[in-house]
């Protein structure tokens, strides 16, 4: 018996979210008293480092090539590995690729599946996991009742923990089926932590008046090392790119810190951000609904407050 965790390595690199899920898997395996096996697909820099996070064995399929993502063939490899190593629990990341894989792997393994899990499983009574539902307005506890289980873990569920040491990687010879889709190109903004993985987020809404004013938001974000986000009308108006839109119909995030400037706090906006650990709201209207969901509030004009906050952050960072 084992716990198998598939670790993503986009463009050949394991990201922080990969170490998070490695830690999650190692802790789950420990609870269950079984071995924890990590699976890598395609060429990956320094996969052996996963051992430091408590993984017992690391396997790598197609170790020599940088493979373009194909959910169908990758799910096949993950499921085959799960069968080969008798995984009772198979764990993936609740990322874009993870969302395309998790359901497929579950079908292949005839396993019960919960995606977007946000805490370690409770095994006192079967196998229970929790996830955020109703766009963050509630938490559900689910029992997976099938023998095999597949889960995907939300970003920022656990911090990576170093508990072991570097391991040698074993090659897994599973033939890679021919991909059914042809990836033509990928476009990613370099150097920015993507929103779903960001620990610090600075967000702004219609109170900004226009796209030309976003400089102060970007300065605050860069002082903090944060990622920028926005409300839906701002993305709809083309003031900001769509991928920055957070909320019920945008990206749902759960950073450690969410700073919202000039956002009223409509229920649909809150739905995507109310799992943030700490919320700071800057709004000139003391009656803005967002203050009810906030930990810290500043009633004032964002055009004055934001630059002052940026200055204070810089002062703190540079001593």
């Amino acid at each position: 018996m084992s716990v198998l965790v598939y670790i993503e390595s986009p463009a050949g690199k394991i990201k922080k979210s990969g170490f998070e899920v490695a830690t999650y898997a190692a802790k789950t395996a420990k609870k269950l008293g079984v071995e924890c096996i990590a699976l890598l697909i395609g060429k990956t820099e320094d996969g052996g480092v996963l051992g430091e996070y408590g993984i017992n064995r690391i396997f790598q399929a197609a170790p020599d090539v940088l493979l373009p993502f194909d959910a169908q063939s990758w799910a096949n490899v993950i499921a085959e590995a799960a069968v080969k190593y008798h995984a009772q629990v198979t764990i993936l990341t609740h990322s874009s690729n993870g969302k395309a894989l998790t359901g497929r792997v579950a079908v292949r393994l005839q396993a019960g599946c919960v995606s977007g899990v946000n805490s370690l499983p409770d095994i006192t009574n079967g196998f229970e996991v929790t996830k955020s539902v109703f766009s963050g307005k509630a938490t559900a506890t689910y029992a997976i009742e099938s023998e095999k289980k597949v889960i995907s873990v939300m970003g920022n569920t656990l911090q990576p923990e170093i508990v072991g040491h570097h391991l040698a990687i074993e090659t897994l010879s599973i033939p890679m089926p021919t991909p059914s889709i042809r990836v033509i190109s990928t476009q990613t903004a370099a150097g920015i932590v993507p929103l779903p993985e960001a620990e610090l987020v600075v967000s702004a809404g219609r109170g900004m008046k226009g796209p030309e004013n976003w400089g102060i938001i970007e300065e605050l974000a860069s002082a903090l090392g944060a990622t920028t986000a926005c409300s839906r009308p701002v993305a709809d108006a083309g003031w900001r790119p769509h991928h920055e839109h957070v909320g019920q119909t945008g990206v749902a995030i759960r950073p450690n810190l969410y700073i919202a400037a000039g956002i009223s706090g409509a229920i649909q906006h809150l739905a995507g951000v109310n799992n943030s650990k700490v919320i700071v709201v800057i709004n000139k209207d003391a009656e803005a609904p967002f203050f009810k969901a906030a930990d810290y509030g500043i009633v004032g004009d964002l055009f004055e407050v934001v630059p002052k906050l940026t200055a204070a952050v810089k002062k703190y960072k540079h001593g």
């Binding site: 509630a138 990613t188 810190l257 009810k292």
Partner: protein
């Protein structure tokens, strides 16, 4: 093109969420329901646009009970040609996918469109499961789709960016923002919807593997701490010392 759009019914986005039966079931008293926004705004509209330019037929499919017919009629009013309702309670993503797969096995489609996720249970699971059951490619979170001869060019969201790929032959996709522009049903559409076919078919596979143990509501925030706009040093101190997020 023969297109299938899977549509689900979800509580209105402004709904107050509460539970019943020892917190094991969603309390729908006084809640108004809508078509899941991703299914309606993006999946359905893009499917309609494709059929408008390429010819063919759009079928909408829902698994649920008779109370769903109102939202199914809305999809017909928006322009879908016919509707199918699989008459059973959707208990988990697996049973929904299994039932849709069984329908598609006897009614082959050129493509199957779903929404990115349902806004109530936020699974984002049905599409991947369905694709695996049908042994078809699945492209998640699609923001753009164009025909390219006999192939289809698809752009999807990935972390911090997009990926463009080419697919040939039948596929399953889930629709995200950007794929199409929301449409509002007009009077003619609403009238025509009444006479469009809505086939009700029995459930073939009701097995579910996941049981809801309980729902819990988040603990209310203890109240906001107001900080003077003149004292941003204090805010930074609190973020660092009190809540330790920076």
């Amino acid at each position: 093109m023969n297109l299938l759009v899977c549509i689900s019914k979800t509580p209105d986005t402004t709904s107050k969420i509460s539970f019943k039966n020892n917190d094991t079931e969603f309390n729908s008293d006084g809640v108004s329901f809508i078509l899941n926004p991703y299914d309606e705004w993006y999946a359905l509209v893009r499917a309609l646009e494709l059929v408008e330019t390429e010819g063919g037929k759009v079928t909408v499919l829902n698994m649920g009970n008779v109370s769903n017919d109102i939202v199914i009629r809305k999809a017909l009013a928006l322009g879908a040609d016919e509707a199918v309702r699989i008459d059973g309670e959707p208990t988990d993503a697996y049973s929904v996918a299994a039932n849709i797969a069984s329908y598609v096995q006897s009614n082959p489609m050129d493509a199957i469109f779903l929404g990115k996720e349902t806004i109530d249970f936020n699974g984002a699971e049905v599409g991947a499961m369905l694709a695996e059951m049908l042994a078809l490619p699945y492209i998640s979170f699609v923001t753009k789709l164009e025909k390219n001869g006999t192939n289809v060019l698809i752009t999807r969201e990935i972390e911090g960016g997009t990926e463009t790929c080419e697919v040939e032959g039948p596929f399953v996709l889930s629709a995200a923002k950007g794929l199409a522009e929301q449409r509002i049903p007009n009077m003619k559409g609403i009238m025509m919807a009444k006479s469009k076919p809505l086939h009700v078919i029995p459930v073939v596979n009701g097995q579910s593997r996941v049981r809801t143990v309980r729902f819990t509501l988040p603990a209310a925030k203890t109240g906001v701490k107001l900080i003077s706009p003149e004292n941003m040093d204090e805010l930074v101190r609190l973020l660092h010392e009190e809540v330790k997020v920076i």
